[in-house]
């Protein structure tokens, strides 16, 4: 400080730190390789702006073909019941999936979970595995186990939800602020105490977001439920396209959009509640 005796001793020649972070040669090479890969890929398969501009008329044609949406009351009633059916399965599947994701994500969170780093890796691998095995295989398995229908549909959604929520919950847990956790640990709290005392309050908004996204995904997903003969709004949409009933399809899309918007709104409200 200039006015104090300290000032005189502060070496005037403290060097400016280098502008760029110092990377190890390996890290540098990897970064460059990744960049080159991205650029090469983008160069080969990205659309040119001209192509995009040309798309205007096709867009108009497509929209024309899809409008006006079919608002026939009988059709709307059918759609309504399909949505009820979908929601029932989606809510149950997402709720069970979210509940199961919580402990699994805790196990999978490095440095936080109770199983150590190896356990965390294995849990992460398990979550990835649930995600990698295609829906069709789960469908086969569940059809063989519990038969065709809503129960198998629920289980397929459970698996999908764990594959998704498990990863994002674990990430939120790993990224949550360390200080309050340290504080509880210093008082003698165990890992469970840290989880419930410090981590959960902190990650709640992120969990709400992930969970409601999982629910939304379950409602939107068209493939999964059909595979096990469970039907739902997604099937109706697929059927509309298969029969080239574009006006029916646009009605269904609009309805789903309204639902998604509603859930977006609910997510926002809930997140502000737990903020």
């Amino acid at each position: 400080m200039p006015t104090s005796r300290r000032c005189s001793v502060s070496k005037p020649a403290d060097p400016l730190p280098s502008r760029w972070p110092r990377l190890s040669p390996l890290a540098f090479a990897l970064t460059m390789a990744a960049l080159a890969l991205v650029i090469a890929s983008v160069g080969q398969v990205a659309p040119t702006p001209g192509q995009l501009v040309d798309g205007g008329p096709s867009l108009v044609r497509l929209v024309n073909r899809m409008s006006p949406p079919n608002l026939d009351p009988a059709f709307l009633t059918r759609i309504f019941w399909r949505i009820v059916e979908t929601f029932q399965i989606a809510i149950a599947g997402a709720a069970i999936g979210i509940a199961l994701s919580l402990p699994i994500a805790w196990f999978a969170a490095r440095g936080v979970g109770p199983l150590g780093n190896v356990g965390a890796f294995l849990s992460k691998a398990f979550i990835s595995f649930l995600r990698t095995v295609p829906d069709l295989v789960w469908a086969l398995l569940f059809v063989a186990t519990v038969g065709l229908g809503a129960v198998a549909g629920t289980m397929t959604i459970v698996v999908d939800t764990i594959g998704f929520c498990g990863r994002f919950f674990a990430e939120a847990i790993e990224d949550s602020e360390k200080e309050p956790q340290e504080a509880i640990s210093a008082i003698g709290g165990n890992r469970l105490s840290i989880l419930f005392g410090a981590i959960l309050p902190e990650v709640m908004p992120s969990f709400v977001n992930t969970s409601l996204f999982a629910l939304e995904k379950a409602v939107r997903s068209s493939v999964v439920l059909g595979l096990v003969g469970a039907g739902g709004i997604g099937q109706e949409l697929k059927a509309a396209f298969d029969l080239f009933q574009y006006r029916n399809a646009s009605t269904i899309i609009l309805v789903i959009f309204l639902i998604v918007l509603g859930m977006e709104w609910a997510t926002d409200r809930l997140r502000r509640k737990v903020q």
Binding site: M1, P2, T3, R6, S10, P12, D14, L16, P17, R19
Partner: protein, 268 residues
């Protein structure tokens, strides 16, 4: 940026200069139940150094934050650096106001994943070409040098390349001070700048403030729980109690009894 060449004439003590901050009947409540500030009338003149004292939770930080529109004022009017507002200042007003203000927070609020130097360079964010202040990588050479100089003032030039969260509590506090000083603010607001500094560093920082205020006509408003700091580094002491100004006196006429009164707890 502090331009160190022709020091502006410091305002003579005692001579009444122009008001730089004025509050009229400022009230603030966070919720309907309790009002934290119950009508504060305060005038701070250019070049003055004012200490704000009061017990924990009396509303010092709240008042400081209201002055630059970080909190909405519930009632009353604030005029700071020529900008008059009620509630929150409008966007453009806020920008003009803050461009000339330096603010040191009680919780130092550094960006912990960035280097110390980057954090100080953030202090340039209201200069033209502000995007270059995003981090030390993008900053022009002059800013980088100015930031390093500001760090040298608070004796942290050797930590410039360290990550902000690898510093001790007191060191972080000093980085926040350097961030507020790197560019020459007309008004410097500092919320307990010396709270976690060791005795000598605390003295040094307060002396640095005094020197900068004298040389560049900076107006200083700071809070402190260290009465010796308030008494020796401020021209004036403003004491808050129960949401009101208890007294507002020149520092040299403030008595021990006055101070005791500030912190005395009344029967509720």
């Amino acid at each position: 940026m502090l331009d160190l060449s022709p020091a502006r004439p410091s305002t003579a003590r005692g001579a009444l200069s122009d008001p730089i901050v004025t509050t009229g009947g400022l009230r603030k409540s966070y919720d309907r139940k309790t009002e934290i500030l119950k009508g504060i009338d305060l005038t701070i003149r250019a070049g003055e150094r004012v200490a704000l004292i009061g017990s924990n939770g009396c509303g010092k930080s709240t008042l400081l934050r209201c002055l630059i529109g970080l909190h909405e004022v519930s009632a009353g009017e604030v005029t700071a650096l020529g900008e008059t507002f009620t509630g929150l200042p409008a966007g453009a007003q806020k920008a003009r106001l803050r461009r000339k203000t330096g603010f040191v927070f009680q919780k130092h609020c550094l960006v912990r994943r960035r280097s110390v130097l980057s954090n100080v360079i953030h202090g340039m964010m209201s200069e033209p070409g502000s995007w270059r202040a995003f981090s030390q990588m993008t900053a022009p050479e002059t800013w980088r040098r100015a930031a390093l100089e500001a760090l040298a003032w608070v004796n942290l030039a050797d930590k410039a390349a360290a990550r902000a969260d690898a510093l001790s509590g007191g060191q972080q506090q000093r980085v926040a001070i350097a961030r507020a000083l790197v560019r020459q603010p007309a008004l410097l607001i500092a919320d307990e700048p010396a709270a976690s500094l060791d005795p000598v560093s605390g003295q040094d920082v307060m002396a640095l403030f005094t020197r900068l205020c004298a040389e560049h006509g900076i107006t200083l408003l700071f809070t402190s729980h260290d009465m010796s700091h308030a008494r020796s580094f401020a021209d004036r002491i403003v004491a808050l109690k129960a949401g009101r100004v208890l007294f507002d006196k020149p520092a040299d006429t403030t008595t021990d009894a006055d101070i005791e009164e500030v912190f005395r707890v009344e029967a509720r």
